[in-house]
Symmetry: C2
DNA sequence: GCACAAATACGAGCTGAGTGCAAGAAGCAT
DNA sequence: ATGCTTCTTGCACTCAGCTCGTATTTGTGC
């Protein structure tokens, strides 16, 4: 199989980045397989946080017999290489995104909407954690749970009655 | 059965608090059962964060045929009444503790040690979240993941080589 | 092309969390 | 004490989200 598939329509830019990661993979003794290529393409496109299940479904739209266990193993491998990271957004499944795309998350416990918080959002907390506990926080790996503006308003309303 | 069992040895203080919660339970239409009494006693003793599994094991030491589903249902009920809250400390199971005991958590991703952070630890973050996203954070419900001092040191060492 | 290690598909199995239901017990009135 | 009602429980099962073992396929260097 050729290393560049032009018959599909992902942007040339993300295609180039996929190839770059595949090169890294090969250099580290890994192999370039269809499932990995497709998975990477999915990761480089659009939505920044998707669960393994969602990524699996997306991969299977293109390559229907890629098994979920393959998705999990590939996600692990990509994480080991530092290409992606996973985060736990509240109760459900972990979500994966590119490690270049460093941000934290604010997740509403009620409606599950997720906001992306910039890196400097956690600066203050990082300093306090270091000062009080000599603890190095990893704000990309956990979600800050709470209530989004509208859910908080609804609850305040309900409380008032 | 009498409402106070004097043949066992938990402190009179925690015993009193257990009875108080049992009263609340009864007032809200609930019933006082052995499993609930024992579970509450466990919750009022020692270690502030334990998983449902751990609490189940502890309850079963005293009352061997309390089923795990009962533990889960009772934890739910106690949470609904606002007696306890659960938090997600990293990857594994949720942990439960008394809601009077309000604190957040710092959990090392490597060695899983958990520090308890006082409420005002998250003050700055709460203000920032409100200002930037109109988001009300709930710092007791999630853990701040990262590296404890010693694990961070070990990793820095490894990195240097 | 060929050999060989690395990935894969498939399925079994696991943990944590919970549900539905019939049997059993708490609490109340008598 | 005795029903009676309603709440709880034990049990068996389910479900999501992963993880592992294994036989088979496939990428890659030669």
């Amino acid at each position: 199989m050729r290393s560049r598939v032009n018959s599909e329509k992902p942007t040339v830019e993300s295609d180039g980045r996929v190839d770059h990661v595949l090169d890294l993979l090969r250099e580290s003794g890994g192999r370039v397989t269809t499932s990995r290529r497709v998975l990477l393409r999915c990761l480089f496109e659009e939505s920044p946080h998707r669960t393994a299940e969602e990524l699996g479904a997306e991969v299977q739209r293109v390559a229907p017999d890629v098994h979920m266990s393959t998705i999990y193993r590939n996600l692990d491998e990509l994480e080991r290489l530092g290409i992606i990271v996973h985060a736990h957004l509240g109760h459900g499944a972990a979500t994966y995104h590119l490690s270049s795309d460093t941000h934290g998350h604010l997740v509403c416990e009620n409606c599950a909407i997720a906001y992306e918080a910039p890196e400097d959002f956690f600066e203050e907390l990082a300093l306090t954690a270091m000062r009080d506990f000599q603890f190095v926080i990893d704000p990309r790996h956990f979600a800050v749970l709470g209530r989004c503006a509208s859910c908080a308003a609804v609850e305040a309303e309900a409380e008032a009655n």
